[in-house]
């Protein structure tokens, strides 16, 4: 994240007015004996280092709120009538009031040594707040060095919550908990295992160590500007180790063992995982994973009686029933109630269920009122992204073969980023999509707008053929009328079930 720009569409002073205003302000400030200026240097990712001016008021150094929003790429909401300002920094709302030393950060109040001021036409924040308190709220490392007066703002990365330790029969495991999916690389240096997380920071730096630990000599976090590294020093009793990324909850496990570990092909680093090529799969569709779009607080499209999350869940259940009862096809659901599920988790559920098809159900919408009809999407990330993924796959596969498993691996194994798995199923996904589109055509409940392709978030990581179905436009009066009727939802579900059955045998 770079902080080159301010809040969107913020009004700018014209170039002529700026020096004039500055002249007046400068002249006025000559009268204020406690005023002085200095600079801090700020380094932000993907941009040149920049110098920001600070001012001293009543012996305390201040920086303007506008500059802070630039430095932290934070949104800034200023309510002049109340002299209050909110700075939105990542997940945090930082509220300050002019002439008041209390800063409210979510439900905490921090009392500053000096008040926030409104001076020289700007809200002025004590530098201490900016260099010592705000960095702790950032999801990426921000480091203040008072000596060269340098503030380094790191790239956005993951937040590591903590590390816990488990005993194993012949070793131990360290469990690193990131706040979300974390990219990292593993390397071994001088017998130490290093997990390097780019642009990340750790909340709880404590690593549980035992005295005379038979397996773990030492483990500690090293925070650099661009990276966070967990350095694990193992004892001589450790003859094998393994670093795996595991999901649900998201965690990274470092196993240190006194006996050789059976290598799990999924043990690897970062967002990569090992996969065998999908060619061995049968064309039979024995299990369908049904994904009712949206859910919980994510309502999807809403317009009167059309509430997308409810319609998708209703059609999902109807589709599941028909598949099971009429065609004997097993069914799994990514959600069965009104709950919010992330795109990544939906894909994870599908992969865990080892389905032969993932079908994601949605209701379309547009600001173009005339648009109506069904659309079926297959995932296609585009040529540029595919080429980049291909390069990543080649590099990672080579590295995995040479460094991790020492060339002992089955040559069919390839390292594929999680979100590129679907690419291998594109042809088969297209066949299923066309089958569904044909069934809609024959059903004549809704007009059809064809099979389309593009990057589809929820399908990208599915290790199986996958399609996303848009059951008409909720924004179209004609489509909405159909979608509200239970009988037509049932017919649409039957059409999709029949299409899946046909794609299975065909």
């Amino acid at each position: 994240m770079s902080g080159k720009c301010a809040a969107p569409f913020a009004p700018h002073v014209s170039p002529c007015a700026a020096p004039l205003a500055a002249l007046i302000v400068c002249a006025l400030l000559m009268l204020a004996p406690s005023f002085a200026r200095a600079d801090i240097e700020v380094r932000m990712p993907a941009s040149e280092p920049r110098t920001f001016a600070t001012s001293e008021w009543d012996g305390v150094e201040y920086i303007t709120a506008d500059d802070v929003s630039l430095i932290y790429s934070a949104s800034l909401y200023w309510r002049p009538e109340l002299q209050k300002m909110t700075l939105r920094l990542g997940d945090f709302h930082v509220k300050v009031t002019a002439e008041n030393p209390n800063v409210v950060i979510e439900d905490r109040v921090i009392h500053l040594a000096a008040p926030v001021l409104f001076r020289a036409g700007h809200l002025q924040l004590p530098l201490d707040l900016v260099t010592n308190i705000l960095p702790d709220l950032c999801p990426y490392p921000v480091i203040w060095r008072p000596e060269p007066r340098l503030l380094t703002v790191g790239a956005p990365g993951s937040v590591i919550l903590d590390v816990t330790r488990n005993m194993l029969p012949n070793g131990i495991e360290l469990i690193v908990r990131p706040s979300g999916p974390a990219d990292f690389v593993t390397r071994e240096l001088d017998g130490e295992i290093q997990l390097v997380f780019p642009g990340s920071r750790v909340l709880n730096e404590q690593v549980p160590l035992l005295e005379d630990d038979p397996f773990l000599l030492d483990a500690q976090w090293i925070q650099n500007v661009d990276t966070l590294t967990l350095v694990v020093a193992k004892t001589d009793s450790v003859i094998d180790y393994q670093v795996t990324r595991e999901g649900r909850p998201e965690r990274i496990v470092v196993r240190l063992s006194a006996v050789p570990l059976i290598k799990d092909p999924q043990s690897t680093s970062g967002t990569m995982r090992a996969l065998t090529s999908p060619s061995g799969r049968t064309r039979q569709i024995g299990r369908v994973v049904i994904d009712a779009g949206h859910g919980g607080a994510d309502m999807g499209y809403q317009n009167g009686a059309i509430i997308e999350k409810d319609i998708t869940l209703d059609i999902a259940k109807r589709l599941g029933r028909v598949l099971e009862e009429e065609y004997g096809i097993a069914v799994a659901y990514t959600r069965e109630g009104d709950e919010e599920v992330t795109a990544e988790r939906r894909t994870e559920i599908a992969n865990e269920a080892q389905g032969d098809l993932l079908i994601s159900l949605h209701v379309n919408a547009s600001t173009i009122p005339a648009l109506r009809g069904t659309e079926v999407y297959v995932h296609s990330p585009g040529i540029g992204v595919s080429e980049r993924i291909e390069r990543i796959v080649e590099e990672a596969t080579t590295r995995y073969r040479t460094e991790v498993v020492g060339g002992l691996l089955d040559q069919s194994l390839r390292m594929i980023p999680w979100d590129a798995v679907q690419t291998g199923y594109k042809k088969r996904s297209g066949e299923v999509a066309r089958s569904i589109q044909r069934a809609f055509n024959e059903g004549e409940d809704l007009p059809t707008r064809g099979v389309k392709q593009g990057p589809i978030g929820v399908l990208a990581g599915a290790d199986m053929p996958a399609v996303l179905v848009e059951f008409g436009f909720g924004s179209s009066r004609d489509d909405a009328k159909r979608l509200i009727e239970k009988t037509s939802r049932e017919r649409l579900a039957e059409q999709v079930a029949r299409a899946i059955r046909e794609a299975s045998s065909g």
Binding site: M1, S2, K4, C5, A7, P8, F9, H12, S14, P19, L20, A22, C26, M30, P33, S34, F35, A36, R37, A46, S47, E56, V60, A74, A113, P126, N132, D136, P139, P146, E147, R149, D298, H362, V363, N364, A365, S366, T367, I368, A370, L371, E375, Y377, P381, G382, I383, G384, V385, R388, D419, K452, P455, I456, G457, V458, A460, E470, F473, S475
Partner: protein, 200 residues
């Protein structure tokens, strides 16, 4: 963390302080006056010349851009020309103004808006290898008729308009609240950048 640095590392202290600050102020005043005398806008040479931002008369920069809006079929795009008036020559400002124009919607009645009118950008920047990053405020995306169709239209119109305005940009990454997001509103994957050449 160290909380005791603020005054100590300020660079000036003690008796020299106030005299030095007055000196600095006088200098600043003089410089301000000089800047006025020298005329406006001279020192504001536009960055990003590769993308041809032109300096117009009276110190303001104007730039003519094409804003691509949706046609009634929900598939194709047609451009409308807009003159962006910039107070400063940065590509970042120009890109933000362009997206604001998209959010304002088309003038022609047979074209349709592709970007929510509520849209807010909390960061926008360029890298030096043809990449552009646009971070939307998540909450500003919400009130809109989202579906796969409208999400693809937003991506297509934004990528195409920005790509046309900045010939040096080859790929555009959308972020939400400064982070990589699965999607803008639950459908189109935004984990990877969009190649300008592929979104015409």
């Amino acid at each position: 963390m160290n909380h005791a640095h603020s005054a100590a590392h300020y660079g000036m202290n003690g008796a020299a302080h106030s005299a030095a600050s007055r000196g600095a102020l006088l200098l600043a005043t003089l410089l301000c006056a000089l800047a006025l005398l020298a005329g406006c806008g001279r020192d504001r040479s536009p960055e990003g010349n590769a993308d041809g931002i032109s300096l117009a008369e009276r110190g303001q920069l104007t730039r003519s851009v094409l804003c691509y809006f949706a046609t009634a079929d929900g598939e194709t795009m047609e451009p409308e020309r807009r003159e962006l008036v910039l107070d400063e020559g940065s590509r970042e400002t120009m890109a933000k103004l362009l997206i604001a124009e998209l959010a304002r919607g088309p003038h022609r009645e047979d074209l349709y808006a592709t970007v929510p009118p509520t849209i807010e950008i909390d960061a926008l920047f360029f890298d030096d290898v043809g990449g552009m990053f646009v971070s939307f405020v998540g909450a500003s995306l919400l009130p809109w008729s989202w579906g796969s169709s409208s999400e693809f239209l937003m991506v297509r119109s934004t990528v195409r308009s920005l790509g046309a305005a900045f010939p040096s940009v080859r790929r555009i990454t959308f972020l939400v609240d400064g982070r990589r997001a699965d999607s803008l509103a639950g459908h189109v994957g935004t984990a990877h950048p969009f190649e300008v050449a592929e979104w015409r």
